[in-house]
């Protein structure tokens, strides 16, 4: 058994797998249009990698034995799910395989799929904030794509007929305000900004007053990237959050943590500490169009119950999409 799987693993290079998947996809493309197939195409790289491994394992084993579980474990670790989450997933799988007396790896595949789906469930009301008066605070460490995410979101909300305003509360990084300005112009939404190095809390305060006065639907606040272990910067973020709570209690507070999908296990730590600072309501998983597996989202959902609400699958302005766990896991495994 081991021989077989190893040979398989070595012979099927990434390239071959990719062509295989592309063939599959071309066939499907014609049949399935719209969001679902778009997601599949966007996620194709992710799929190759995450399930390239998992599929490999599922295909190269006939019987469910120790070896099989070990290989499956490895494949999931390679997808950045993290050791703890993987151990938990595999443990659950073992128990259920025994309970349901499953004997084929094909059945295990369905089971695993359902396990991951149930882990990644997003509440139905996750996007209700779009139809309310909302202050949307975007937070995260440096370089994950906060400003770009805001640019894309503002465009989408605007197109959906909402009035949108941006607050340039990243007053620290060089030219961050200018970067947001470009996005504001692209989507044609107003921007509230002060000079560089001004107090971000003051910017948010101003923006809230302005949003209230103009009866703006969604106010999106950009913040400076900060590493979660810097106490003073996290305190600053907490202050911004408190200002929003105090100055606009009537508004829905949506706090999106932006995570780079190439990030490894540290993302869990990021989510934990940011959560202590502001009440995170969702996660944005960016840069999923690379070869990164984004499996860390599964770890975060499982450990911290933070739902992924949007995923970024490209540089285009509408390459930021709402996240759907069913579609996501289905797309990751296969479609047929």
């Amino acid at each position: 058994m081991k021989e077989k799987s190893q040979i398989n693993g070595e012979l099927q290079t990434n390239e071959e797998l990719q062509t295989n998947n592309e063939l599959h996809m071309n066939k499907n493309e014609d049949k399935k249009k719209g969001f679902f197939s778009k997601l599949v195409i966007g996620l194709s790289k992710t799929r190759d990698n995450l399930i390239g491994g998992v599929e490999n394992v599922l295909n190269s084993f006939i019987t469910i034995d120790e070896e099989f579980y070990e290989e499956l474990e490895e494949a999931l670790i390679m997808a950045d799910l993290g050791v703890n989450t993987v151990l938990k997933v595999i443990e659950d799988l073992r128990v259920k395989v025994k309970e349901q007396k499953l004997t084929s790896t094909e059945e295990v595949r369905e089971l695993l799929k359902n396990e991951l789906k149930s882990l990644m469930l997003v509440n139905e009301d996750a996007y209700d904030f779009v139809d309310q008066k909302t202050v949307l605070l975007v937070i995260g460490v440096n370089g994950v794509g906060k400003t770009t995410t805001i640019g894309k979101l503002s465009n989408q909300y605007k197109l959906a007929g909402k009035t949108v305003m941006l607050a340039a509360a990243d007053t620290f990084r060089a030219a961050a305000i200018d970067q947001l300005k470009v996005w504001a112009n692209r989507s044609g939404v107003p921007l509230i900004a002060q000079s560089e190095n001004s107090d971000p809390g003051a910017v948010v305060y101003d923006a809230i007053q302005s949003a209230k006065a103009k009866n703006t639907d969604i106010l999106i606040c950009d913040t400076a990237g900060r590493l979660h272990n810097k106490k003073n910067l996290m305190d600053e973020l907490h202050k911004i959050y408190r200002i929003i709570e105090r100055e606009y209690p009537a508004a829905h507070k949506e706090v999106l943590l932006v995570l780079d999908s190439t990030t490894g296990q540290n993302a869990v730590q990021q989510a934990k500490l940011f959560k202590e600072t502001a009440d995170i309501t969702g996660v944005v998983l960016t840069k999923l169009d690379g070869t990164a597996k984004g499996g860390i989202a599964i770890a975060i959902q499982s450990e911290l119950k933070l739902p992924v609400k949007y995923i970024g699958v490209g540089e285009g302005i509408d390459d930021l999409r709402p996240f759907d766990s069913n579609d996501f896991i289905d797309a990751l495994f296969n479609i047929t």
Partner: protein
């Protein structure tokens, strides 16, 4: 906290393996399982872990266990040495081409920190008496040119830009001409972030490389990168033949396994580590610090090192006894602070110390604060240092004046000292409770 479970597991190896003699296969296997988990949790790529663990296994079996170590510690010692060796044991500084200008080209994924790193390197070069020129080659990300201009101004380093309507390769070529005319002996080309699988964008870099023939191409890698680090590094290296790596955002609390992955798949040296948001927060990469960080065993490694150097065990025992009995003095405190300081940032160190995670989670210690504390201790008499209870208000006043602090600061410090003494006493007790191991394991530092 991740650190806790991890260090606990390591403690278990030590208590599990007690016998001496040569390392048996079973010893090595047991220890390596934990090492494997530690590396995976630190984001070292799975394949790299497998390879690494296998090669270390081979080396370790049959090795004589040193008198002062347990078999488990002996294995960790070998692991640590091998890791340092793998990540490159010679300090990598910037080198220059024989004929100026020396051209550096910065490449990497989006958000890795290329622009900031470019500026930091320019700052380093300026300090060395060079006359660097920064080149704004990122025409895609909104305001990227502006960002480079702002940081350039902060450093007083010229920035060459041609807006966003020219091809990056043309900007690079024009910049070289400009640099030659203006006596810039080093030219640093910032490029746009791009995915390693984006053929068109990667082609652009290849074109720049062919046209301006950079002396070195540096890949900028976010130290928080997960399993994908190998794909990124391999891909950039295959297409561009990089010369070195800059590791960014190391001031976070990531264990940074990406460093090992990147080095393993490219074989290229990690030259610099970026450790903060200030433009001066860049340092030469230290593979030994990185190894202990990836292994996540802070003090364990230090202890192993010390134990294998045969440092006076009696002295260590004495310190341990002092700690447990809370006879800890200002002299000891000063001693430990100075030892710690030579090892890097206090905050990072605290985070790495097994068992300290919980207690220290909300304690932020500024390195400046440490300097202040040092000054206060140095302003004490020998008697005061040895016997902290001696310090009365008038002595406090003298200490305050002597160290350039106000009396409130002195009061706070003395209170803190007593608190940490108490904490160490508790920790001593805690660790004793877990028993086993040789005496030195009970030291908090």
């Amino acid at each position: 906290m991740a650190f806790e479970s991890l260090s606990d597991r390591f403690q278990n190896i030590f208590s599990g393996l007690r016998k001496k003699g040569k390392l048996s296969e079973a010893d090595v296997k047991a220890a390596m399982r934990e090492v494997k988990m530690a590396l995976l949790e630190a984001d070292v790529n799975f394949k790299v872990v497998k390879q690494f663990v296998n090669s270390v296994k081979e080396r370790a079996v049959g090795v004589e266990v040193m008198e002062s170590l347990t078999p488990g510690q002996q294995v960790i010692k070998i692991v640590n040495e091998e890791m340092i060796k793998l990540m490159g044991d010679d300090n990598q500084d910037l080198t220059f081409s024989k004929e100026p200008p020396t051209i550096y080209m910065m490449v990497g994924l989006q958000g890795a920190g290329k622009t900031t790193s470019s500026a930091k390197i320019a700052g380093l070069l300026k300090k060395k008496g060079k006359n660097p020129l920064l080149v704004a080659g990122d025409i895609y990300r909104p305001a990227a040119v502006k960002q480079l201009q702002v940081v350039g101004e902060q450093l007083d380093v010229p920035v060459f830009e041609m807006g966003t309507n020219n091809k990056p390769v043309d900007i690079a070529k024009a910049a070289i001409e400009y640099g030659k005319k203006n006596n810039n002996d080093v030219i640093i080309i910032d490029t746009a972030g791009r995915l390693h699988i984006d053929e068109k964008m990667m082609g652009e870099l290849v074109e720049i490389k062919e046209q301006v023939k950079p002396f070195q191409i540096l890949l900028v890698v976010d130290s928080m990168t997960g399993q994908d680090a190998v794909n990124v590094a391999e891909s950039f290296n295959n297409q561009l033949e990089i010369d070195g790596v800059i590791l960014t955002k190391l001031d976070g609390d990531t264990r940074g396994g990406a460093a090992l992955s990147v080095k393993a798949v490219t074989g290229k040296p990690i030259k610099f580590a970026c450790v903060g948001e200030k433009l001066t927060d860049v340092e030469v990469f230290h593979s030994d610090r990185m190894a202990s960080r990836i292994l996540g065993m802070g003090d364990v490694l230090t202890l192993i090192e010390k134990a294998s150097e045969n440092i006076d065990e009696a002295k260590a025992k004495e310190m341990e006894r002092k700690l447990r009995k809370a006879e800890f003095t200002f002299d000891d405190f000063l001693d430990q602070m100075q030892q710690l300081k030579s090892m890097g940032s206090i905050n990072d160190l605290l985070g790495m110390i097994p068992g300290m995670g919980k207690q220290m989670k909300n304690v932020q210690i500024d390195d400046k604060e440490i300097a202040k504390m040092e000054a206060m201790i140095l302003s004490m008499t020998n008697e005061e240092r040895a016997n902290p209870d001696l310090i009365n208000p008038s002595r406090k006043k003298r200490i305050a004046t002597g160290s350039g602090n106000d009396i409130g600061a002195v009061n706070r410090f003395i209170k803190q000292f007593h608190q940490s003494k108490q904490m160490m006493k508790q920790m001593g007790g805690m660790m004793k409770g877990k028993k086993g191991r040789n005496g030195m394991m009970n030291l908090p530092f």
